[in-house]
């Protein structure tokens, strides 16, 4: 029976199968995690029920969950936008941190009415993200230096910078903590419960990015440059200029995510503020197959996974375990994406 079948590799991924593979990848990892919990003497089904009820049956749970959705949609969007032109922005973590850092600078040191300061804070965050991706962008566009590594290495520099200011010159000298800055006085207005306006804005940003990429001339040129740079250059498209604008836009989005997190959720700069959002954003983008609309949904999914990890902390699960699980899902997804290139043919079939 099996000998009558053979595999044919298609040049492009079959979207339906790729989607099914993602679901399968998540199912396998959740199953593996459940078995690990079972071995550790926990009851995975009871924990699962506890998760769902803790997240969805109380306003409090929904608020925590919703607050995680905002940065994950935005960091996912940041990575997905870069991928349109074939750029790996692994530095969303650093751009997020510097965005939060710049936002804090405005929040702490620029006096003025809230209606003026809040836009300034967000603009500062955007600028911070752009500044942080500037060197990798220029190096990639003009010297051809691999952006994946340069953006990633700057994450560590950003983390050290935030650690330095929040424990050093900007630390809260009045409050109890000496590992964070004082609370900034301006905050994002609330949208639903504790969830601030960052949520609808993030969704709008994702929809706008999708629309621009799908319908504008710029978007067309970017997508073409991404799928075939030499053909695009031959057609007279300024590939290098598009790489620069796309990378700066990617950094900008991650920086805005940092400003939202600071002004809407955490309100003070501290070391762990990025919470791996940048790295999880890679996962959000990959699960969405780099669709800017898709990141809204995969961002919500990732937020649920991350939120589960946070709720289960009392059961000995840490955000590190969530990171490992995320990695496992990513790994299986990569395998699934390759398998989604194949279709099964009967031997002697004429559909070659």
């Amino acid at each position: 029976m099996l000998q009558g079948l053979r595999l044919q590799r298609l040049p492009s991924v079959q979207p339906g199968i790729a989607l099914a593979m993602r679901a399968l990848a998540i199912a396998i990892v959740v199953l593996a995690a459940s078995i690990a919990l079972l071995v550790a003497g926990e009851d995975p089904i009871a924990l699962g029920a506890q998760l769902v009820s803790a997240t969805f049956s109380s306003t409090f749970g929904m608020e925590d969950f919703g607050l995680l959705v905002i940065p994950l949609i935005l960091t996912g969007l940041s990575v997905a936008v870069g991928q349109q032109i074939g750029i790996w922005n692994i530095g969303a973590e650093g751009q997020f941190l510097v965005g939060a850092f710049a936002a804090t600078a405005v929040g702490l040191f620029v006096p003025g009415p809230a209606w003026l300061i809040l836009p300034l804070i967000i603009a500062a965050g955007a600028l911070g993200g752009v500044v942080w991706i500037l060197v990798p962008t220029l190096a990639r566009a003009f010297v051809g230096v691999n952006e994946l590594i340069t953006t990633l290495l700057l994450n560590f520099v950003a983390a050290l910078l935030v650690y330095y200011v929040s424990t050093g010159p900007w630390r809260d000298r009045v409050g109890m903590s000496n590992s964070s800055t004082p609370r900034i006085t301006v905050e994002m207005p609330e949208f639903w419960g504790l969830i601030h306006w960052g949520l609808p804005i993030a969704i709008l940003m994702a929809l706008a990015a999708a629309a621009i990429l799908a319908f504008s001339r710029w978007g067309y040129e970017v997508r073409l440059s991404g799928s075939n740079p030499s053909a695009a250059a031959y057609a007279g498209i300024a590939v290098r200029r598009h790489i620069i604008t796309v990378m700066l836009l990617s950094g900008l989005i991650a920086g805005v995510a940092g400003a939202f997190e600071l002004a809407g959720t955490v309100h003070r700069l501290q070391g762990g503020i990025s919470n791996n959002f940048g790295y999880l954003g890679i996962m959000v983008a990959v699960l969405a197959r780099n669709s800017c609309v898709g990141v809204i949904f995969t961002g919500i999914l990732m937020a649920f996974i991350l939120n589960s990890g946070i709720i289960l902390q009392t059961q000995g699960i840490t955000t590190s375990a969530v990171l490992a699980m995320t990695g496992a899902i990513l790994f299986l997804t990569a395998i699934g994406d390759e398998l989604a290139h194949y279709r099964i043919l009967r031997a002697g079939s004429t559909r070659a």
């Binding site: 691999n146 700057l154 994450n155 520099v157 996962m283 490992a324 990695g327 990513l330 398998l339």
Partner: protein, 311 residues
């Protein structure tokens, strides 16, 4: 004079981590596979080293265990990228997340306590009495001789002076031609991705058993990524990789000296030096000498999966 000796000794000690991981990465990349999981492999190696010596106080055993764990993870990575031919960038990033996350999870029970056994310094008779250089070069742990002498020379010989090395490079440059010549492309890629991953695991154990003798959360701190960048800068050559790693050892040790001597620069800024240095090294040489690009070029088929049956 003590200062100079101190700087040199720390340079060799700190460079060892990067040298070992970079040589592992050279092996994988020479046969055409980018392993971006070095960071995660090092994290797993580091915690394996600590956990092993906590059970049996033998640093050699801890190091060997880390090599084995590195190889096991490497085989999983090779299965995905070589056998299935999945995207190498994605699988590498995934491996980094898995390794880092898993190591931090396992490491919670070891956090903060020093490693139960470490590689001790070995004084080489006579040589260690040479002023300045002696204590820096000949009064170090035994792994350093492996890292700085045995491995780079052995790998250089293997890659550039043996038939097998020629085959390896052919697999990285033009797998279709290598395949046509009867070289087992898949097997060679699988084997050297695994071997390279083992060295990355070993580099992690070196970190916890010889360099910073304790486990702490996130202690690999980007060294895996720096190692990956060094390989590019070193033109995919093992001896160059070790020399470049020494340069980074020097940068790290300058940071240490600065902290110890209370330079008027905050410690976090000194800690930024290796990362900023790596970025500078990736950009400046290519800016300065366009010829470098061709001389130090990556293997032509780097990152590309090889399909024999599909055209």
């Amino acid at each position: 004079m003590d200062l100079l000796t101190g700087i040199l000794a720390t340079t060799f000690l700190a460079g060892g981590v990067l040298a070992l991981a970079a040589m592992g990465e050279v092996l994988a990349e020479r046969v055409g596979v980018v392993n971006l999981g070095a960071e995660g492999l090092m994290a797993m190696g580091a915690i394996t080293g600590v956990a092993t010596v906590a059970a049996v106080p033998s640093p050699a055993l801890g190091f060997a265990a880390a090599l084995v764990v590195g190889a096991l993870f490497g085989m999983v990575f090779a299965f995905a990228t070589v056998t299935i031919r999945a995207n190498q960038v994605l699988c590498g990033l995934a491996l980094t997340l898995i390794g880092t996350g898993l190591a931090n999870t396992i490491g919670r029970s070891y956090s903060g306590t020093p490693s139960a056994a470490v590689f001790e310094r070995v004084e080489v008779p006579l040589l260690s009495d040479i002023p300045i250089l002696g204590p820096a070069l000949f009064s170090q742990n035994v792994l350093l001789y492996l890292i700085y002498i045995v491995l780079p020379l052995g790998l250089h010989y293997l890659l550039f002076h043996t038939r097998h090395g020629l085959n390896m490079r052919a697999v990285g440059e033009n797998p279709a031609a290598a395949d046509a010549a009867g070289i087992p492309v898949g097997l060679i890629r699988f084997a050297y991705v695994t071997a390279g991953a083992a060295l990355c695991g070993g580099a992690g154990a070196y970190l916890t058993l010889a360099f910073v003798p304790a486990w702490s959360d996130g202690m690999v701190a980007g060294r895996g990524w720096i190692a990956v960048s060094l390989v590019i800068f070193a033109g995919y050559r093992p001896v160059n990789a070790v020399l470049t790693a020494l340069l980074f050892g020097l940068i790290t040790s300058i940071g240490f000296v600065g902290q110890a001597r209370n330079w008027p620069v905050a410690a976090p800024f000194l800690s930024m030096l290796p990362y900023l240095g790596t970025i500078a090294l990736m950009i400046v040489p290519v800016l300065a000498w366009q010829k470098v690009r061709r001389l130090m070029a990556a293997p032509a088929a780097l990152g590309e999966p090889f399909y024999r049956d599909v055209r």
